[in-house]
């Protein structure tokens, strides 16, 4: 799913197969007051195709921040993250990993693969809504690099 690029908006690539979480991520951004241009992939292969498109077509706009759920169909979150970090245009784009895993090993592995932040999906609303603040922060930190 993609929406037309709008320069005044934050461009987010969300890789997430759960509609319930897609809604919550959108709600978190809304509550943070972020105006977002959304590109949403609900499986890993689709996400990789979108990255391929960015790499192969210079006119395709790059997302400002990527939100990547670890447990998506068809390929693993690790593979998608590795593909992102190999991309000439996206190698430095912030990637926030979203997962319900509590495994410290998962966290260490993904940080080594180049994740920018690691967001463990909480089970209460207030905590989940903090994702909005996190996305704003990683975006702001990444802007000077562009």
């Amino acid at each position: 799913m993609t929406e037309g690029a709008q320069p005044d908006r934050l461009s987010l690539l969300l890789v997430e197969d759960s509609p319930a979480d897609v809604y919550l991520v959108r709600e978190a951004m809304r509550r943070e007051g972020l105006r977002v241009h959304w590109d949403i992939a609900d499986d890993g292969e689709w996400a990789i195709r979108m990255i391929d498109e960015v790499d192969s077509n210079a006119s395709t706009p790059c997302p400002d921040v990527m939100l990547l759920d670890l447990n998506v169909p068809r390929c693993t979150g690790d593979e998608v993250l590795e593909r992102i970090r190999r991309s000439p245009r996206l190698a430095h784009t912030p990637v926030v990993i979203m997962t319900s895993s509590e495994s410290l090993d998962d966290r260490d592995r993904l940080m080594k693969l180049g994740a920018t932040e690691y967001f463990r999906k909480p089970s209460n609303l207030r905590e989940f809504m903090k994702l909005g603040r996190l996305v704003r922060e990683v975006h702001e930190r990444s802007v000077p690099l562009k």
């Binding site: 759960s18 319900s100 089970s123 209460n124």
Partner: protein, 538 residues
Amino acid sequence: MQVSEKNQVERIAELEQRLAEAEETLEAIRQGDVDAVVINGPTGEQVYALEGPDHPYRILVEEMHQGTVTLDPDGLVLYCNRQFAAMVQTPVESVIGSQIHQYLTQDDAAAFSALIAAAAGGHSQGELNLLAGNDQLVPVLLSLNKLEVSGIQNLCAVITDLTEARRNEAIVKEEQLSRLILEQTAEPVIVIDARGKILRAGEAARRLAGSNVLFQDFGVAFPIFDQDGPVTVSRLVSDVRSQNALRSVEVNMSTREGRAYALLLSASPLWSPGRELLGCVLTLTDITGRKRAEEALARQAEQLAQSNSDLRQFAYSASHDLQEPLRHLAIYTELLQQRYAGKLDPEADQFIERTIDAAHRMERLLRDLLAYTHAADAPQGDAASVDANSVLAKVLATFEQHIAKENAVITSGPLPVLCVHEVHLSQLFQNLISNSFKYHGNAPLKLHIWADGADDGTWRLSVEDNGIGIDGRYHQQVFGLFKRLHGSSRYTGNGIGLAICQKIVQRYGGKIWVESTSGEGSIFRFTLPGKESAHAKA
């Protein structure tokens, strides 16, 4: 005339004297007291031997293999032959005239007297030991007969040396014993010669082969093989020669009837005094049943491991995968609450509140179940030595605020170095101390932790508090999964802490238990393997 008469008288006296001598000689010859007569002939003295009708018997007595002795009623030896003298290792001339009792042991003196008494009736016979001159005992058969000579009652004894007979009896007994052992032994024992011919085989061996295998070739009677192929006699003998013995080599055997055996082969060489291999003693222990049992056990262990793995996977998946919808349930109910609280009727608000509570509680339960599932998982690497003093210190640091807030006093004795993963020991201390804080009652918490060593290298650690205690009825129950003794309104928690403690302790083969009386505090004790017997330097 007077001279002539005198000469005649002297002549008559001389003749009477010579006649008396001649009669005495004849009487002596008649009595058998003269063996030879010396005659002065023209060519000098000539010796003529006299042979009476009993001469052959005298020769017989001297030459017979038995010893013979003539005794007077008091046991004085009147005569003995050479055999008897040889038996008692004493010269004939020393035996004759000695007392027979000096050739008897004290133990046999009474038996001998009884034989003499019995011989009064004519004849007696018995076995006893003669004491030879070199202090050796000679087993003999003694036959006594009454002997009357010239009106004097004497005794004649014929003594048969039983030494050889006894030795033969011992050999026969030994042989019988060997056969008996071979027959009775539960293990199949086979004796072969150096060419593999079966010389002996016990009942168990015959049963194993299914036939009488005596004098058969071992390789034919017992077609055994190992991973290198058939165990031939030449190979067997060669191995026994080079290794001096084979001990418990696993082999297999298939009989012509189609029975299959797993056997343990042991072989010992039979060397001649000149170090020539005479043959081997072989044992074929039937371990077919044991092997089958081992295989069954291994299969069961594998199935159990698979089942445990499946169970862990199930528990992990169930708790992990259930978290997702539960998380959505909780968050979306909160969303519902945020948007519609106060807009529905009061009961609806309460329902929403309870749904959120239930969702969060279930989420905690699932998280605990997940923690329990992984509680005893081994971190990477083997359990290393860990100083329990430093682990406790680290854990206590996390309770710093609690300790200050509750005015708790926590003390510990010297703790050992344990052979466990640090994360597990840490979890044990964490859960037990946390429990003590939770159930400490009104008085400030006093907690003491110490250790005692056991002879088997394990350590018993004790955590004693002055809390509310546990009634004896619940001492087992408290370690159960999600078992709680108090309502959640009074004491929070899901009842997972002690279950996790138990799982960790059991992982190391230890035990955990509680000693407590309601209202009088508790001592939680657990055992863990030690790395060394001495206390670690704190």
